[in-house]
Symmetry: C2
Subunit: 338 residues, 2 copies
């Protein structure tokens, strides 16, 4: 049995998308139990639209909502009755609850998860690991992608260990090829951080370190995991998403510029729909915050029902593969060898 709390408010399409996503996930995973947090009346009204196994779904009333424009540390202190903070409290206090899925404020989720749920013993900083599709049909993880903008080589080492376990547990990637994001592939390249981190990663036996990689290789499929500080990781993922989206927009505009192009595009309609789908980051689930005592999945703010369902699926997979236990064990091993 996997028990997940779904924060139903804070996203662009919440609560509808979050509720429908939870209902869909319940349908797909008979071993799943979901707790929805948020305004109980609104959630109840929305639930009436769906058929589901009510014995596996409960609602926890939380009338307030934390918006993305609020200062995270203030918001999590002042809005104890928000859908996010009620969800966090459930995860913290209820031993039967395994994790949380939220599509709300990223900053508030990081702060609340770190301060209230807490880090696993030995983890210096929890880190985000979003997933992108590669051109070879697989996926690539990027850790960290923004939770920690100032990091040390030791933190990068932990990111690599945690994210490698995550890719194994949630995506079945065997011995993930982990590379250090750098400005060149030679092992002498980079800033002070990268130069110091390279030997630390190279000597870490619990990861499959393949050396440095350049940003242009992200989608090539030659790497399973990009290890980076949160600043460069954030630039990497946002510029990739930005370039793909801008290019699709440009293609669309150009197609409409001439009738013959429109005719051609008509014949390729299904292909373009598939490309759009391929580029839609909502199809690849959420960004997991690694290093906390329980599972934390951050869905994109623009998540629809399908992407919320994906986030819950990720949580189920991670729970079934005992990701938390494996990270805890890895951290313990590291302490013993130090």
């Amino acid at each position: 049995m996997t028990r997940i709390v779904v924060d139903c408010f804070g996203g662009d399409h919440s609560p509808e998308a979050n509720i429908e996503g939870a209902v869909r996930a319940l349908c797909r995973f008979p071993g799943l139990e979901a707790v929805l947090t948020g305004d109980a009346e609104m959630i109840g009204r929305e639930l009436k639209k769906h058929g589901y196994d009510s014995s596996r779904l409960s609602v926890e009333h939380a009338p307030e909502v934390i918006s993305c424009s609020e200062t995270p540390t203030l918001a999590i202190k002042q809005k104890k009755n928000s859908s996010l903070m009620r969800a966090i409290e459930l995860v913290r206090t209820d031993e039967s609850v395994h994790g949380i899925v939220s599509t709300g404020s990223t900053g508030a989720l990081i702060a609340a998860a770190t301060l209230r749920i807490g880090r696993l013993h030995g983890v210096k900083r929890p880190a985000f690991c979003p997933i992108l599709p590669t051109m070879k049909g697989g996926v690539v993880g990027i850790c960290d992608s923004g939770a920690n903008v100032d990091v040390t080589p030791e933190m990068l080492r932990q990111f690599a260990v945690m994210a490698s376990l995550y890719l194994e547990c949630a995506f079945g990637v065997n011995s993930p090829r982990a590379a250090l994001l750098n400005v060149g592939v030679e092992d002498t390249k980079g800033d002070e951080l990268r130069k110091a981190a390279y030997p630390v990663l190279a000597s870490e036996k619990r990861i499959n370190f393949t050396g440095n990689m350049e940003a242009r290789e992200l989608l090539s499929g030659d790497y399973d995991l990009v290890v980076t500080d949160g600043f460069a990781g954030n630039v990497l993922i946002k510029s990739t998403e930005g370039a793909c989206l801008e290019m699709l927009k440009k293609l669309k505009r150009d197609i409409y510029s001439r009738p013959i192009y429109k005719l051609g595009a008509l014949l390729m309609k299904r292909m373009f729909a598939e490309e759009k789908d391929f580029m839609d980051y909502r199809n690849y689930g959420g960004s997991v915050l690694l290093g906390c005592k329980k599972l934390v999945v951050k869905g994109h703010g623009s998540s629809n029902a399908a992407s919320v369902e994906k986030c819950i699926e990720q949580a189920v997979r991670m729970h079934e593969a005992d990701l938390i236990g494996r990270i805890a064990q890895a951290m313990e091993q590291a302490e013993q060898t130090e």
Copy 2:
């Protein structure tokens, strides 16, 4: 009169592309004089294929070539007779020479330009400023993009001032909208460097600072200049190029997967050729190394004749607009106000 030295060796398509590029530029700019460095016999043989005004072209024999795999600092010491080092020496010693265009080793060019040509008085670090096209038809500069991986807020301020002048001089951008690359747009966002740099940029009167920007906005056309350390700038430009190229490759593969798509693509043939052209960074000239005493343009290693021509065009424009003089003046002003 603009006098430019063209290093004819070191690029993927050199010396042919470099020589043809120089000949084409001579044809376009009657006020241009070119000096080609490299193996004189090979250059002479190649020149026979073209018609040009021989009174404006000369050749400086340099039998050696510095390859991209060599250690820059060693190579520039040991290979005094390389096409790059002969070019650099001409730029350094000959007052009538205004600058250099090279498609060879980036590291060797940075080292040689900094050590031999030298920095303008007051410039802490020369910085690269490559140019990308935006979706609104204009261009966007990224400074620094890799010459300096460890920087200070003061260096970022200088990058912003120099690159703003460059965009004005070479691309006619009036009062370029300069933004600090960051993980969010709020002025409190970022790592220690960004937090310290923000007020420094905001108080710099010689630039049009518009605040923080996120990586996904790079191609939007809402910014003319991205100010960043070389590490994040390198990630930004390489991931953007990588994403665009991988997407074009995927489109091509998908088109060939079904006959109906091939038919559709046939109708859109010209459009796809234009997209490919649009994405081809070789069409946007080279990356200029700002802050040296003379003009330094680094063409992409895979430059063809058209892109070498573009690089020389950039040098001509910068010379005509007296970019070096304007940067020198800006640095002097800064010293006086300090």
